[in-house]
Assembly symmetry: C2
Homo-oligomer: 206 residues x 2
Amino acid sequence: MLTKNNTTFQLHPEKETAMSPLAAFVNYVHPVSDAALKYISLHSAPKRVSRGEYLLKAGERCGHIYFIRKGVIRGYIKDGTREVTTWITAENEMVSSIRGFTLQEPSLENIQAIEHCDLIAATYESLQYLYENFIEMNIVGRKLLEQYYRDAEERAFISRIPNASKRYRHFLDTKSNLANRIPLKYIASYLGMTIETLSRIRSKKV
Amino acid sequence: MLTKNNTTFQLHPEKETAMSPLAAFVNYVHPVSDAALKYISLHSAPKRVSRGEYLLKAGERCGHIYFIRKGVIRGYIKDGTREVTTWITAENEMVSSIRGFTLQEPSLENIQAIEHCDLIAATYESLQYLYENFIEMNIVGRKLLEQYYRDAEERAFISRIPNASKRYRHFLDTKSNLANRIPLKYIASYLGMTIETLSRIRSKKV
């Protein structure tokens, strides 16, 4: 059994319907009906992954979306033998492969925990049920997608800044919470530079 | 007066409420109520811009979202004196500055027509009215944002491919409709390479 503040989340949710942390997060984004909250609590489950473990590998079907209660996760795509990190995200965010999840096509992305993570998982089918049966869930989806689209646009911009120092400066301005928390190799991969270049920039600026 | 197939769109919509091309597009994404379609038709208006003209400049408030009936538009951010093109899009897509529009903050982006464009414009206020008064419009918004978030993730990936030829190959695979239509300087800027490098790659591969 997991607890968050005073809320109890049952591993056997069919026996009890206390609000899951995912339901609480959804209701925080936009208030939804009690019936929707109950459905989410009944159809989501805690999941723990260790550092280095995968939530999704390229080629697999992406059947789940996760709410991060604790930990850091990255998405990367293989370019030959090289790993191209396209996003890194932490607590209180939802993660999945946007393409793999929404289109239900084999994933191009790999999703990997880079710290021990406590997650809440929901299936693609549960989310579709929620969208179809609780129309207000589309307000939640719309608001979250606006935020995640803004973040993706930011990732599309930062990688196009020609100067490596400016890319790192921009990373510090927008993701300062991650800069001293995660291994340099992932920051270097995300910012499209070698670890040596990143170390040189950090030794000058930090 | 503009026409699209057999649908007539009045320049003075207060006199008549024939369905605007934007309403038809919305209804195509997900069927909405007649009242919502009527509201969209009454609160959207055609706009024409010439090649090179701006829909938004950095620092301005982003008050409109546009549906492209004809033409090509790009978004770019200034990095010093350099223009960093972060997206290029064409017919049957909605465009705005996702950050400037959804947060109503001064825009970081410039949005510029790179061909003569026929657009349909709607205001931020009209869209909020639609979301608040016609709940099914949130289904439309959620579905469009899923698509545009996927596209933004794609833009975040392509720019991180280390090899310039592979970036161009990936561009051809995903945006073949634009490859022979728009000036090379914008493709080069979007792909993070010089025009000379892009020309050299094209002369080998095309």
